[in-house]
Amino acid sequence: MINIISTEVERLIKKYRTRNPFEIASGMNINIVFENLGNLKGYYFYQSRFRYIVINQKINDKFKSIICAHELGHDRLHQHFARNTAIREFSLFDMSSKPEREANLFATELLIPDNTIMDFAKQEYTYEFIAAKLDIPVELVDFKSQILKNKGYDINPIQIANSEFLRK
């Protein structure tokens, strides 16, 4: 599955010439809406042949990108699922469900280029340090390292993905 995700992300980056999830989503005619959602971060919704990524207007811009990328992952990987049954997104970094895990991997692969992490990893920095340096949640560093390992890079994922500290 990681291979499929990497291939799809690569295809999108090539096609739209950007890693910006907002630009890619609008290129794909997905509606992006900012709404008051209380403590929810966002969700993906399919109705009458229109696709929506809804993002909480209150959260900061960096996080908006992560959520947009994550929901874009649901659009690419789980649209069939959203059409029939589900509206997604409450727990952004919940890795207990397969679709969440896949959307997280998708978001990470889209937002973070391989060499960004590898440059740090070669110098043996901790994941927390790398996350702080890049100003991203530490989960993303972990997800990315899992992808990199899958691609054959010399890196050891720390598998902290079940952490729930970003849930709220």
């Binding site: 509606n31 809406v33 709404e35 008051n36 959602l37 209380g38 403590n39 929810l40 969700y43 919704f45 109705q47 009458s48 042949r49 229109f50 929506y52 809804v54 049954t85 589900a86 509206i87 409450f90 727990s91």
Partner: protein
């Protein structure tokens, strides 16, 4: 209780006179009088919706002869009624399915009531947005 009795009862609960209620809804005092005594339904569906809004009850509660005010939550119920009004039987089915989906999702209990309300409001808004877009683009008929 029928429609007229409900209007009268709810109006008194609010402490409104017929005249006050009439001006709030934008109809004549005589209309309110007629609803209450002859059990006449307003000709314009919007009036019923406004009444439901002012009384803080669902449209279905007002127009059916049952006394169960809380069968479905008012918001959910009004959403289903408006979907039905705008998009007919299919809209009603869609709205019901959506309510069911969101209920299933909320069942985990990790969301506060406030968040649930915010989410439901958002999703209904987007539902109507999608339907409006679909109507424009594909000419979906009523």
């Amino acid at each position: 209780m029928n429609f007229g009795e409900k209007v009268k009862k709810l109006r008194k609960e609010l402490g409104y006179s017929q005249k006050e209620l009439a001006s709030n809804i934008g109809v004549s005092t005589k209309s309110i009088y007629n609803y209450e005594t002859d059990n006449l339904f307003p000709k314009d569906k919007k009036v019923i919706r406004k009444l439901a809004e002012i009384f803080n009850v669902s449209v279905d509660y007002l127009i059916t002869d049952t006394d169960n005010r809380n069968a479905l939550s008012k918001t959910e119920d009004n959403f289903i009624s408006s979907a039905k009004e705008d998009f007919g039987y299919k809209g009603k089915k869609e709205a019901e399915a959506l309510v069911e989906k969101t209920a299933a999702m909320m069942a985990g209990g990790s969301l506060s009531e406030e968040d649930q309300d915010a989410f439901f409001q958002s999703i209904t808004k987007i539902y109507f947005d999608a339907k409006a877009k679909a109507r424009e683009k594909y000419g979906t008929k009523k």
